[in-house]
C-alpha cells in the first residue's frame, strides 16, 4: 500500500491522541509534560507531511518556529515545576490542589 498523505495524517493524529491520553492518565507532572511534547511533535509531523505533499516549503519553515517555541516552553515549564517542587516537595499532580474549593 502506498503511504500517501492519508497515512501520514492518520499517524500524526494517532500520536497526538496518544499524547493526550498520557496527559489524561498520568499523575506525575514531568510525565504529563513529556506527553505534551509528544503532542507537539505529532503536530510538526502533520505540518511537514502537508508541505511535502503540496510541494511547498512553508510547512517545513513553520516547524522551525514550533521547535523554537517548544524549546522555550520546556525551559520555562520545567522552571515552574522546579519552583513548585520547592514549595510543595511533590510533583504528583494530585497533591497540587490548592485551587480546590
Amino acid at each position: 500500500m502506498i503511504a500517501g498523505l492519508n497515512a501520514y495524517i492518520a499517524l500524526s493524529a494517532l500520536l497526538f491522541a496518544i499524547g493526550f491520553f498520557g496527559v489524561l492518565l498520568r499523575k506525575n507532572t514531568l510525565v504529563i509534560y513529556m506527553c505534551l511534547e509528544l503532542m507537539l511533535v505529532a503536530s510538526t509531523l502533520a505540518l511537514v507531511a502537508f508541505s511535502r505533499f503540496n510541494g511547498t516549503m512553508d510547512g517545513n519553515v513553520f516547524v522551525f518556529f514550533i521547535l523554537t517555541v517548544a524549546a522555550a516552553e520546556v525551559a520555562v515549564g520545567l522552571a515552574i515545576i522546579v519552583a513548585l517542587f520547592r514549595r510543595r516537595q511533590t510533583v504528583q499532580v494530585d497533591e497540587l490542589d490548592s485551587l480546590k474549593h
Binding site: L24, V93, D97, L99, H101
Partner: protein, 627 residues
Amino acid sequence: MTPASLAILLLLLPLGSAALIGLFLRRQGALASWISVTAATGIALVAGHLVFRGLRFEAATEWLRFGDFAISLGFKFDDLAALMLAIVALVGLCVHVFSLGYMHDDPSRARYFGGLSIFMFSMLGIVLADNLFMMFIFWELVGFSSWLLINHWHEKTSASDAAKKAFIVNRVGDFGFLLGIIACYWALGAVNLTEIAAKVHGGATVVAAIPLLLFCGAVGKSAQMPLHVWLPDAMEGPTPVSALIHAATMVAAGIYMLCRIEPLFAAAPAIALNVVMWIGVITALYAAFCAIAQRDIKKVLAYSTLSQLGYMVAAFGLGSLQQTLHSDAGSFDVLVSAGVGAAMFHLTTHAFFKALLFLGSGAVIHACHHEQDIFAMGGLRKKTPLTFITFTIGVAAISGFPFLAGFFSKDAILHLALEKNHFVFGILAFTAVLTAFYMTRLWKLVFLGAPRSESAEHAHEVGPTMALPLVVLAVLSVFGGYTAIYGHVFDGVLSLVPHAEGSTILMVSLVILIVGAGGALVFYQPAATDTFEQKFPGLFSLLASKLFIDEAYNYYVAKIQQRFAMLLNFFEQIVLAGLIIRGLAGVVGLFGLGARALQTGRLSAYVYWFLIGVVLLWGFAAGWTFP
C-alpha cells in the same frame, strides 16, 4: 375669617393641644390639663360662632389622586353637622371642666388630657366630614382615641383587655363600613355625601347591600347587637371618658353617620331600613333587660346607653312619614324623613341627660372614694345634695318625666312607631317601662335610705369644677327639649321631628312612667342585696347572664379563631417560609454548591473539561446545533 378657615381652626385647636401635650408636657399634668381645657373652650366658642350665626357652607380640597380616583378632604357644614357640632363642643367642654376636678390626683393626667384632645380632633373630623373616606379616616382615629382613653389605667389587666376588646369589635364593624364605602364608590362612582344625594335623587339604583354594609360601621361604633359587647367593658375607663365618649359623642357618631347616608337608605329597597329598625329594637330590649340585673353603677348606665342607642337606631329605621302640610295653596302630602329627625332629636337630648348621669355617677364614685357597687351606697341624698338634685333631673329626663327633654324626644319616637308599625311600638313602649324601672332602681339604691357602707358614710360633696358641668347639663336636660330655644339654626333637622297630635302618646308615656318608676320605687328595698335576686332568683340569673353572648364570643375566639390562626401559621411556616422562600434560596444555594464542586483543584479534571469543550466546539463546527 371665612367659615372654612374657622372650621380648620376647629380641627387645629385640639390637634395642637394634643401635639403639645404629647411631645412636651408628658410629665406636667397641671399644665396639660389647662391647655386641654383651653382648647376645649376655644372649640366651644368657635363652634358657637359657626352654629349660631347661621354660617352654613361646603368646602373641599383634593388630597390624593390615583388616576381618575381622588380622595378629597372637605367640610360639609349643614344644619345636621351644626347640631352635632354644638353637642360635641358643649358636652366636650363640660367633660373637660369636670375632668379638671375628677382627675386632679391622677399621676398620668397629662396622657389623659392628651387623649381627650385627640378624641375631640377625631370627633370633629367625623362631624365636619363631607365624604365617606374622610369620615372613615376620622372614624378609625376615634376608635384609636377610645382605646387610648379606656386604657388609661393600663396597669389593670381588665382595663387593657377592655380597650383591646373595644378596638377589635369596632374594627369588625369598620370592615363592613369599608366594604360599604367601596361598594358605594363602585355602584355610584362617588363618595362625597352631596354627590351621593344628587346621584340618588337623579335616579341611580341602590342595592340594599350598600347602605347595610355602611350600617355595619354604625353597628360597631354605636354598639348595636351583635357588636355591643364592648360598651359595658369600656366602663373600665375613667368616668368622664365614659361620659364623653361612650354616652354622648362617639357612640352617637354611628347615628350621625346613618343620618348622613339617609339618601342611600331612602333609595334602597325597604328591607334595608327594616333590618336597621329590628336591630335597633332588639338591642334596646336586650340592653334594658340586662340593665335590671347590674350592680355596678357605671354598668347600669352603660346598658342604659345601649338601650337608648337602640332607640335611636330603631327610630331611624322606622323611616319616613307621610305628613300633610297645610299652606295657603291648599294641603298637600309630603314625605318627611321623620326617622332622621326623631333619631337626631333623641341623640341631642340623650347627650345631655346621659352625660349628666355619667358625670353625676362620677361625682358619686368620687364621693364614695371609688366605690362603684350600688349596694354599698345609699343615703347620699343628705350627704351630696347637689349631686342628688342633678342626678334626679337626669333620671327623670331619661324616664320620660313630662316636660323634661327626654319626654319630648321619646314621644317623637313613640309617635313615629305608632304611625308605622304597631308591634315595634309595643316593644318600644315596654322598653320604656323597663328604662324607667331600672333607672329608678338605681336612683333609689344610690341616694335614698341609709348609708350601707363606710365610704357612703363619709361621702363628701364635689368641688366647683365638678359641680358646674353638672348644673349646666341639668339645665339643658330640663330645657333642651323645647326646640324653640334653638332659634332657627337647626331647622334643617328639627323640622323633621314628628310631632304627636292628640293625646294618645301623652297618655302612653304617663302610663309608662307610673308603671315603671312607681314599680321600682315600691319593689326595691334599700338593702345590701338585690331584692329582685331574692324574690326571683331564676329570672335574675337569666338577666344577669346577658344571654351568654360574651361567653359565646370568648369561645369562638379561643377555640375556633385561634385554631384557624394556628392552621394559617402552620401553612405559612411550612409552605410559605419553608418551601417557597427558603426553598428558592436553597435551590440557588444548591446551584452554588454544584458550581463549587467543579473546582477540584486537580489538573486531570480540568483537562477533561477542556476536552469536553473542544468536542463541543468540533460539534458546532460540524454544524451540530442543540437538538
